[in-house]
Assembly symmetry: C2
Homo-oligomer: 122 residues x 2
DNA sequence: TTCATAAATTCATACATAGGCATATCTCCT
DNA sequence: AGGAGATATGCCTATGTATGAATTTATGAA
């Protein structure tokens, strides 16, 4: 029950759902998620830690970069939750739009993306 | 997406989840749910209206009494959500305990139950 | 090794939202 | 009209979201 409530609370925020759906097809660097959601780095970091605590995503550190991906855990709770979210939103308008935005973001290389933040996206 | 977020927010509270699971096997009167959750009537009413807005449950008025039951809607969003919750919690300890509590509550007749509230459960 | 820099997270704080209750209001029955 | 159950309103507290600043971690240069 505790584990389940951790999951439902993690899923109760739209930005976290969008991030989760973004990760369903690919691994993403935090700076890509920041660009994607348009939120402050600290905010995104918090969202990721909530998703991670719920075991819905996993983090992998590569040098200074942190990469997140959907959880590969076999826990039934986690699998069911992820499957439910994906099945419910696979054809959602906003999620489809997000996919297009993500395609653009994926074309930039990571260094440019991170540098752009500093220059206020100039 | 909006509909989906309504559902996840409705599911992000433990009392609402317990109420939802209680309704999975039977219809319940509000006063039974009040007894079950041990919350103030106004609080329970609010929880029920949130679940109802998310279309997860339905209300049926019979005289002065309000009866709630799981939604019979065929909307895929709703069916998937309900199925997910039930599948995830069917064997949950707390939910099983709740079932025992509910058995007791079901044995009282409704009038006694409602009257008990007034007398501060004396 | 030491220092500087960059990315990510944690911390401190402001603001908004949500849960809880008491009380007022509404609806329905007699 | 009177009385009962249920819901709406108003208030308080707690939790959640968002941000900038400080801290941590890792890289690369001196």
């Amino acid at each position: 029950m505790y584990e389940f409530m951790n999951i439902t609370r993690a899923l109760s925020d739209e930005n976290r759902i969008r991030a989760l759906m973004a990760l369903r097809k690919r691994e993403l660097c935090v700076c890509q998620i920041i660009e994607f959601l348009g939120l402050a780095p600290s905010t995104v970091s918090k969202h990721m830690s909530i998703l991670r605590q719920a075991r819905l995503i996993e983090g992998r550190k590569e040098g200074v970069w942190m990469h997140y991906s959907l959880s590969s855990s076999r826990r039934p709770e986690v699998r069911k939750a992820i499957n439910w979210v994906i099945a419910s939103l696979e054809n959602d308008e906003k999620i489809i739009k997000d996919e297009k935005l993500l395609s653009k973001i994926m074309k930039c290389n990571l260094e440019d993306l991170c540098r752009r933040k500093k220059n206020k996206r100039g």
